[in-house]
C-alpha cells in the first residue's frame, strides 16, 4: 500500500468523524472543528488518491490550496456568527427551532 493511499484512508476516517461530529455536537465551536475535520479529510483524499502511484500531481495540490482558503473563509464566517450569537443570547448552542 502506497503512502498516498494511507493518506486517503486517513482522510476517509477524518471525513466520517467530521460528519458525525457536525451532526451530533451541539456546542457550536466543536461543530466548527468537526466541519474542519470533514474538510481536511476531503483534502487528504484529493491529494492522496491522486498520488497513489507515487507520482506528484500539482493539479490536486493547487485545488487543495484553493480549498483550504475557502474553508478558512467558511470557518471565519462560522466563528464570527457564533461569537455574535453568544453576545446576543449568551449561548454557544443554536436555539431550538420553532415552526413559526
Amino acid at each position: 500500500m502506497s503512502t498516498g493511499l494511507i493518506f486517503a484512508g486517513t482522510g476517509a476516517i477524518l471525513f466520517a468523524m467530521g460528519v458525525a461530529g457536525v451532526m451530533l455536537l451541539a456546542h457550536l465551536l466543536r461543530r466548527i472543528l468537526a466541519f474542519n475535520l470533514m474538510g481536511s479529510g476531503a483534502f487528504l483524499i484529493l491529494i492522496g488518491l491522486a498520488q497513489r502511484a507515487g507520482l506528484v500531481d500539482p493539479v490536486p495540490q493547487a485545488m487543495v490550496l484553493t480549498g483550504i482558503v475557502v474553508s478558512v473563509a467558511a470557518t471565519a464566517l462560522a466563528l464570527a456568527l457564533t461569537r455574535r450569537l453568544h453576545k446576543l443570547t449568551g449561548a454557544y448552542t443554536l436555539p431550538a427551532t420553532r415552526d413559526d
Binding site: A42, P60, T66, V70, A78, R84
Partner: protein, 484 residues
Amino acid sequence: MTEFFDPLAWLILLPLFWASGAFLLGPTRGARLAIVGVAAQLWLAIDLAVKVGDGGTAIRHAVGGWGAPLGIDLIADGLAAAMLLLTHMVALPLLLYARGYFAADASVARYFWPLSGFLLAGLNALFLAADLFNLYVTLEIVGLAAVGLVAAGGNATQIAAGLRYLFATLIGSGMYLLGVALIYGAYGTVSIATLTPLINASAASAVWIAAALMLLGLMLKTALFPFHYWLPPAHGGAPAPVSALLSALVVKASFYLILRLWLGPFAPLTGTIAWLPALLGSAAILWGSWQAIRAVRLKMLVAYSTIAQLGYLFLIFPLLGPDGLALQAGGMQVVAHGLAKAAMFAAAGAMIHVTGRDAVADVAGVASRMPVSLFAFALAGVTLMGLPPSGGFLAKWLLIDAALTQGQWWLVAVIIAGGLLAAIYVFRVLRQAFLVPAQGERRHLSHRAPPLLEWTAFTLAAASVLLGLRGVDLLRLLAVGSGP
C-alpha cells in the same frame, strides 16, 4: 478566440467589479452602482440568450486560453442561458425593491449591496461552469454570500438562522468536495466534458459513491425534503429582498447542478434510482404545502411554499425521456417559480412594511389599502397554483403530459393535489386580505407603502404570468445543447 465583450466572461466579472466598488464607495453610491451593473448584466444575459437561441449551439469560453482538461471552460448552453436570464430578470427588480426597502435602514444596507454582487457573481459563475472543482468554488461563493445576507440583519433569530443554514450548506459542499476528490482519483480530471464519455455503468464503486455524495450534498443545499429543515428559518427570517433572492435563485442553483450532473456525467449511473428524488419531491410537495397551510406568519407561509414548489422540480427525474417533455417542464417550473416567488416575497415584504406585523391574520383589509401589492401576491399565487395563463400552468401541463406519457399515474395525482393545496394557502391570504378589518385594527395601516416596493413586486408577478404566453420561446432556448 473570442471578442473582448464576451457575455460569458463579463457576466462573471461585472458583478465582482461592482461588488468591490460598492464596498469601496459605501451604501448610497454603492446602490446606484449595483443597479447600473445589474441592468448591464441583464442586457448581457439577453444578448447571450439570443446568441445561444439563434445559433442553436452552446457557446464556450476557454479561460486562460488552455481549454479543458488543463484549463477551465465556461459553457453556455440553452439551460444555462435561461438560468442567467432568469437570474437577472429577478435581480434587477429586486435590487430596485431593496433600494426602497433599505432606504430607512443604512446599517443593513451597507453590506447588502456588495454581498448581493458576490451572490450574483457566484450564481453566474455556477451556471456557466463546466468543471467540477470550479463548481465547488462557485457553490461556496453562493452559499456563503447567501448565509451572509441572511445573517447581515444581525438580530439573534437571523444569526441563528444563518448558522443553521451555514452548517447545512457546508455539509452539502463538503460531501460534494469529497465526491470531486474521488472522481479526480478515478479519472484524473474534473472537466465535465472530458468525464462524460469516460463514466459508464461498470464504473468503479468509488465513482458510484462519488455520484451519491455529490447528488445528496446538492439535495441538501436545494432543501429537498427531508433536508429542508434549514430553509424556513433562513428564508422566513431574512429581510424581504434577501428572502426573495434566496428563494427565487439560490436554491435553484444547486438544483440546476443536480440536473446537469444527472443528465451529463452521471447519466449511466442514475437510471435505476430515478424514482427516489421523485418520491422525496412528492413528500416535499405534500409536507411543504401542509406547513404553509398552517403557518402563522406570512413569510413562513411563503417559505414553506418554496419547499413544496421545489418538490415539483424533483418529480421530473423518472420522467426524463427522449421526448424532452420532463426537462421542458423542469425548466419552465424553475423560471416560473423564480419569478413568482420573488414577487410573492416582495409583495409580502411590502405588506409587512406597512402593517408592521408579520402574521397572516394581520393582512385583513389590505385589499383596499394596498391593492397593487395584493394583486402582485395574487398573480404570483396564480403561478404557484399552476393556473392558466401563467408559466406555472405550462410547467404543470408539461409535467402531467410527461407523467401520462410514461404511465406514472401516481405523479399525476401528486401534481394535481399539490396545485389544490397551493390554492388553499394562497387563498388563505387573499381571503384574509378581502376581509373587512375590525375597527380597532385599522390604526396599523397608517402609512402607505412606497410605490417602488409595490410596483417592482407587481412587475415580477406579471412576468411570471406573462411567461405563460412566451412558453414556446423559453422551450426553444432550453432545447439548445440538451439531449444527445
